[in-house]
């Protein structure tokens, strides 16, 4: 049995097509994901915009505007700004949104825009409201493809709107309660949002929507690894191959030969998945929530299920080995569609199935393998992960039982 185990191991490790599809292919696909999704993620980073600040008479009458733009520029408030009444106003942003160029008039600011020296300007109107004007190029870019500019402009709009609302409320309060102007506590509270909102973490780690694609890739790789078990069964069955005839005639029981093949296939499938997982984790930097040991356990469970499914497919009578390998690829590709591998549409389809037809998601092995890693990353506890493990083990038991029935029923009528 040990020799059979070693031979199946060698057979799997020396099979070029298996090595390609089970080790090279996931790494190539993960690298492609990394390239595509990495650029998308970078595209949504906030990058400071060069803005002129028009410090004219209106600006000087607008208390707190200086402190506000300094905060937008990521600087300590200037001494002149801190003298303003709105010194407590906060942007609520930790990042630098603008690089400031000080000008004295809107005309000068427009000239700077025309010279491409700045992308826009900030000024205060007669009523003390801050306004942002963008160059036509910048505005055009924001509506087209440049994600960085879009995000930065959105953040600036939000911050300026917050400033204007706070300013308006402060003015109304002072009109209704003129005595409040003398209260230092009042001024400290203006614009102070601290305590009104609280950051709550509902997941184990910060959600990473991109990670699901990598997990779906692991699901597909796992199903592709079925081919190991398919070959192990096909080449041990007398009615499926000439090799099977030779091995069946030998004085080593069929169960022991099949068991040796299964264990070797499990080891190979697990190893190939571990390689893919390691590359995704350390090569592509996809998080596992600090639960790497659980991910290794997930690989063990997933590869066991994969080999069980492979055993069942391998045991189908009368189908040649090549057809079964084709079937393995087809099943992997189709089921991966429903686990969200092929882009946002597939991901939405996967979510729709999970919400509206949960049983289908439950019986989709690709989805369940994807869920294994998803559970590890997102959930605080291990209960969902354990539930998915149990589901996969139940699936494995069913696949093995069907495979065993198929193998027992075969009486080699078509040798």
């Amino acid at each position: 049995m040990w020799t059979t185990f070693l031979v199946v191991l060698k057979m799997n490790l020396r099979s070029r097509s298996a090595l390609f599809w089970l080790i090279v292919f996931p790494i190539v696909l993960a690298t492609m994901f990394n390239g595509v999704f990495g650029q998308i993620t970078e595209g949504y980073d906030i990058k400071p915009m060069s803005m002129a600040v028009v410090k004219d008479a209106n600006w000087k009458r607008t208390a707190g505007a200086g402190a506000f733009v300094d905060a937008l520029a990521g600087k300590e408030p200037s001494s002149d700004a801190t003298t303003g009444a709105h010194e407590g106003t906060a942007t609520g942003l930790d990042q630098q949104l603008i690089d400031i160029t000080t000008v004295t008039s809107t005309a000068e600011a427009r000239r700077r825009i025309a010279d491409d020296a700045v992308q826009g300007y900030l000024n205060a109107d007669g009523s003390g409201r801050l306004r942002m004007t963008l160059s036509s190029d910048t505005a055009g870019t924001a509506t087209s493809s440049d994600g960085n500019v879009t995000v930065t402009i959105a953040a600036l709009h939000g911050a300026i709107e917050l400033y204007n609302r706070t300013d308006a409320i402060t003015r109304e309060t002072l009109e209704d309660h003129p005595t409040a102007a003398a209260s230092a506590r009042f001024w400290r509270s203006v614009g102070d949002a601290a305590g009104l909102t609280r950051e709550v973490t509902l997941t184990n780690v910060k959600p990473d929507p991109i990670a699901r694609y990598y997990y779906a890739l692991l699901g597909m790789s796992c199903l592709m690894a079925m081919s190991y078990a398919v070959a192990a069964v096909t080449f041990a069955q007398a009615n499926l191959s000439a090799l099977g005839i030779r091995r069946t005639v030998a004085p080593l029981g069929r169960v022991r030969q099949l068991l040796a093949g299964f264990l070797a296939s499990w080891l190979c499938a697990g190893t190939s998945l571990l390689i893919a997982l390691a590359y995704i984790r350390y090569g592509c930097g996809v998080l596992l929530g600090g639960r790497e040991p659980a991910a290794v356990l997930a690989v063990g469970v997933a590869s066991f299920m994969s080999c069980a499914l492979g055993t069942m497919i391998g045991a189908i009578p009368r189908l040649p080995h090549g057809v079964k390998i084709g079937l393995t690829s087809a099943i992997s590709c189709v089921l991966s569609l429903f686990s969200g591998l092929y882009g946002s549409f597939a991901m939405e389809l996967s979510d729709w199935i999970t919400r509206h037809a949960p049983v289908l998601a439950l019986v989709n092995p690709a989805q369940q393998v994807t869920n294994l890693f998803y559970d590890i990353l997102y959930y605080d506890g291990y209960r969902p992960f354990a539930a998915t493990c149990v589901n996969l083990l139940v699936m494995s038991a069913v696949f093995l039982a069907v495979g065993a029935i198929l193998l027992r029923r075969q009486r080699y009528e078509h040798l």
């Binding site: 020799t3 000439a242 030779r246 080593l252 080699y412 040798l415």
Partner: protein, 319 residues
Amino acid sequence: MTVQSTQATSAVKVSRLVKHYGDMVALDYFDLDVKTGEIFGLLGPNGSGKTTAINCILALLAYDSGTIRVFGEPMTPTSYALKRRIGIVPQNVAVFNELTVTENIDYFCSLYVPNKADRVPLVEEAIEFAGLQDFRKFRPGKLSGGLLRRLNIACGVAHKPDLIFFDEPTVAVDPQSRNAILEGIRRLNRNGATVIYTSHYMEEVEQICDRILIMDHGRHLALGTADELKAMIDTGERITIATLDLTDDALAAIRALPRVIDATYDGRELDVRCRRGDRNLTDVLDTARRFGVNIGHLTSRPPTLNDVFLELTGKALRD
């Protein structure tokens, strides 16, 4: 005395074996008795039941009724002690494409001889037996058709079985490889192995088999040595004459000769099958001359195993 006793022992004895595939009868009360130490030829057209019979003997197939005994013991799928004494060389090359020549032989030998130390000399001997010394580290994909067949044989005989099944081992190999394979089978037999050999190459069977069984429709048709089989059929002599001007009257006259079984003419060659007799050739030639037939090349030969086979199983094409 010892030799006689050994000869009398059956290596394989099949009695009244019946096997159906649905409504089709594959083996119809089939009998077989292969003596220890002989090379036994099993012949039959495609679909005659040869492979079914072998698969039943090897316990690969269940059968409906009858008995099978190998070395005097009933053969079942779990007769591991018996299986250790059996080797099989299937018609299709059955080796792992991912393993080298040595690894393949070692693996199949390991199924019979688990101990590695015991196995090493056996593997080495099998490599030498098959003449694969220069190809130890080659994978099957790099071997020629003849070498592949020899590897297939080495994998089946490395554990030194007492009974070896060869199922058409020389299909698609060149004459040199075929000769080497047949010589190897003789050597195995000389070393004590009983061989059951199936092939469609009649001259091979005639060349190496001690006894031959011809079967068809799942039944035993004839059994004996090649000479005994030839004696069983009507044809005793076959005369072939190259001629371009044989008339219908001449052909009819030849057919009417007392010892002629059948005569056919295709416009270029006259083929006459005769019963045994001393004057067949002169009778045919006299008749041809009487009708003014010009005779070109002429041959006369005794019947071959192929003639026996065709006469017993018919000339109709099989699947």
